[in-house]
Amino acid sequence: MAVADDRSPLARLPAGGARGGPWRGSWLGALALLLTLGLLVAAGVQIRQFALLTQAVRGGDDYVVLTIYQAEAEHLRLSEQWSRALSAGEPIDRATLQLRYDVWVSRVGLLTEGGTRRLIDSRPGWIQTVQQMEAFVARADRWLGEPAGARLDLAALRDLQPGLLALGPPIHGLSLAAAHDVSEQFAERNRVVRRHNQIGIALTILLAGMTLAFAAIVFGQMRQLHARRQTLEDLAASLYDARREAEIASQAKSAFLANMSHEIRTPFHGLLGMLSLLRETSLAPRQLDYLRTATESADHLLAILNDILDISQLESGRMVLAPVPIDLREMLRTVDALMRPQATAKSLALHVDAEPQVPEWLVADPTRVKQVLFNLLSNAIKFSDRGAVVLDVRVREHGEGRRALGFIVTDTGIGMDEATLARLFRRFSQGDETRSRRFGGAGLGLEISRNLARLMGGDISVRSEPGHGSSFSFQMPIHELPVPPVPAGGAAPTAGPLPTRLRVLVAEDHPVNRQYMAALLGTLAHDAWFASDGHEAVQAVRDRRFDVVLMDMHMPQLDGLGATRAIRALPDPAAATVPIVALTADAFPETRERCLLTGMNDFLTKPVSPEQLATALRRLFGPPGSAAAAAPQSAAAPPLHDGLIDPVALQRTLTAVPRAQLAAMVHSYLQQGVETVQHLRAAVRDGRPLDLRVHAHATRGAALNLGLPALAATAEALHEGAAHLPAHEIARLVQRFEQQLGATGVAAHEHGLSIDVEAAATSEGR
């Protein structure tokens, strides 16, 4: 999957993201500041306007004009009333004159009070007029004041009149001046208001513009954010898809590898077999040479195939180690023996050495440890042209009592530079291209070895210099065995054919493999029959006695597992218990597990060599020369009819139970036993060990109560072995139980527990 593709979502990410953000941010900040300032100025203008209006209302400038006007009007009315009082023939209307005078004085007083006073004080011409009026009032108050000092008479009126009349023109002037003044103020205020309005309009336009700009930038920012988010989401989605595709592809690859291994190994099985058979025939030296070359190529191909299988198992995590106690030095001897021919062929010295501290026994998977060592040693031999290859085994302390075993393989070969070392453990890499061409190989070995080492809890490391050889170090933790294990009771099967001629049924769908198996069995001097699918195999077992069935796992119609189940469920005990050995190209441990669980007795991986087959047959049919071992049924079984009825227990029971009743009970038990056998067979057939245990347990209890120890023992063996015994062993035990049922009936008769049908009916009816 290309990552740096131009069309990949990564390439579509806006490049300026990191640079554009702060730039826009500062613009936004500046705009926001300007907006705030503009709004503050607008608010300031409005506050000023408000103050102006408030001042106008409070000051009441226009009100001053009205006041002065009224003062003038009242002055005229007073002057008229005054003249009327002075005109001959009329008495002085003192009250009216007094009222007019008071009203006028009140107007004059207004001019000197409050806001009006402030206005008048600011204009020198006006003050003079007001002072003039105040002077007159002061003079007139001698007659008209409160309280009046002198009596108002015509003489006083006449005396005061000129002063009163003289006030006329200045008051009028004051009135006009005030009117002009106020209109000027009005104009001024209008001007200010207009200017404020203009500022306000300008500000509003500016603010509107800035708001627009602000909105535009915010909008742009949001769109960019949205675009970025969208891109990121797309990226996440495509990454998710890519991951899923990769996972699916990986699973498909694993499945493909597993399938291919099977597909390749099946014909390969035939090919290798045929080659080995060909070697047995009389061949010309030249033909033998061709055959050797063909066999070498096939061996190489098989090695590569095994590597691929290992890789697929390691990758899918299906690789399972099988640690067992191993004798380390014995294993090293094997390794030495196997590698020495290669070393000798290249005139190299091979030293395999272990420190004294290296433990004798430890727990490890010998196959995998050997695989790693073979790989490292054959690499060392491959890349060395002279000198020696050394395998040193050392113990390394890891602190806290933990110890590790180090296998150090040193060669005097061509060595590697840094670049080569870096590529070393990668798949299909073999140092470098030129070396790859020179030395051949799939290049999987080191990767497998390192993965195996890691699976064991260790690792592989390497030190090398060009021209100075290499040193590979394989470390693994030590799982030490303090005491050497007791050797298995049965000695390992020794070489050589079985003396018995076995009747072997081969169930195999592939014609080449059938031919190969026929030849193989012919070589081992056994008789072979063939079935080409599961149904034929089951039919053959039914029709004929065989000593062993070699069962291919993958067959049309009914596969090996199905056929095995069918055979194990056959009613004929001899047929149901025939040993079955699986033949499969699957090298996976779970396949082996399934075979054994289904009731098969052993497991052979194709291609099957004559040695493997002989070993497997020896495992089944015991040590050579033992005729008894060849007969499966009689293996270490106690005599069938021993202790069928326990006389002591019988006597004890008879003291409590009448003989006739006991006879009826035994009879009834034996009758039920036939059903029990059916149940047991069904449980074996369907692979239900729990049912098997339940039935076996129930029948055992009853047998003990009735004093039938042989039946009880067989039931107990079934009960105990239900979960772990192979199916054919269980089938054999069921068969034994069935035989013992019949024998017990006879023995019961002999012990005087015979019963006629009526007596049984009576005893049951009671």
Partner: protein, 169 residues
């Protein structure tokens, strides 16, 4: 700030006046037009007028407040009966009032104002009777400081001083 005082002296005249007393002293205020409780004594006056002398106004419930005005530099205290009490005692019924001053200044105001804004017919300024030259003897005044909406030329002009008559329309 409105301070309402119920004058103990005015207990006799408190409440709606069924039949208005005849003024004993000089008439200071005449309610004319659509009034029911008339008490005009002199033929010179129009027949349907409710006349008040100063003691009659004193006997009505008194209200005091201080307020700033365009006419005085500082806030001044005004005391007198509420306009609506005076109108009630005159049995006035109408929608508009025309307040007329000694100098024949007049101004129209809605009768509703009497209910909404509690204007007072002040007869005391800073607890002292007002002379004519001090905008007396009666001053129709609104409590300008009590409500901001009153601080406008409209209500300043409705405040008639040297008040003499009120015509109910």
């Amino acid at each position: 700030m409105v301070l309402r005082l119920t004058c103990a002296l005015a207990a006799v005249g408190a409440g709606p006046v069924a039949a208005l007393d005849r003024p004993g002293g000089p008439v200071v205020l005449s309610i004319m037009g659509r009034v029911r409780s008339t008490n005009a004594a002199k033929a010179a006056n129009a027949a349907n007028a409710a006349d008040f002398d100063m003691p009659m106004l004193e006997r009505l419930p008194q209200t005091s407040f201080s307020t700033r005005t365009p006419w005085y530099a500082q806030a001044r205290k005004f005391t007198g009966p509420l306009l609506r009490d005076v109108l009630t005692s005159a049995g006035a019924q109408g929608t508009m009032l025309r307040a007329r001053a000694l100098n024949d200044y007049w101004v129209d105001l809605p009768m509703d104002d009497a209910q909404r804004f509690d204007p007072v017919i002040a007869r005391l300024l800073d607890d002292k009777p007002m002379a004519v030259r001090d905008k007396g003897p009666l001053f129709l005044i609104y409590p300008f400081d009590a409500r901001t909406e009153l601080r406008s030329a409209t209500y300043f002009s409705r405040s008639a001083w040297q008040l003499r008559t009120i015509e109910v329309r």
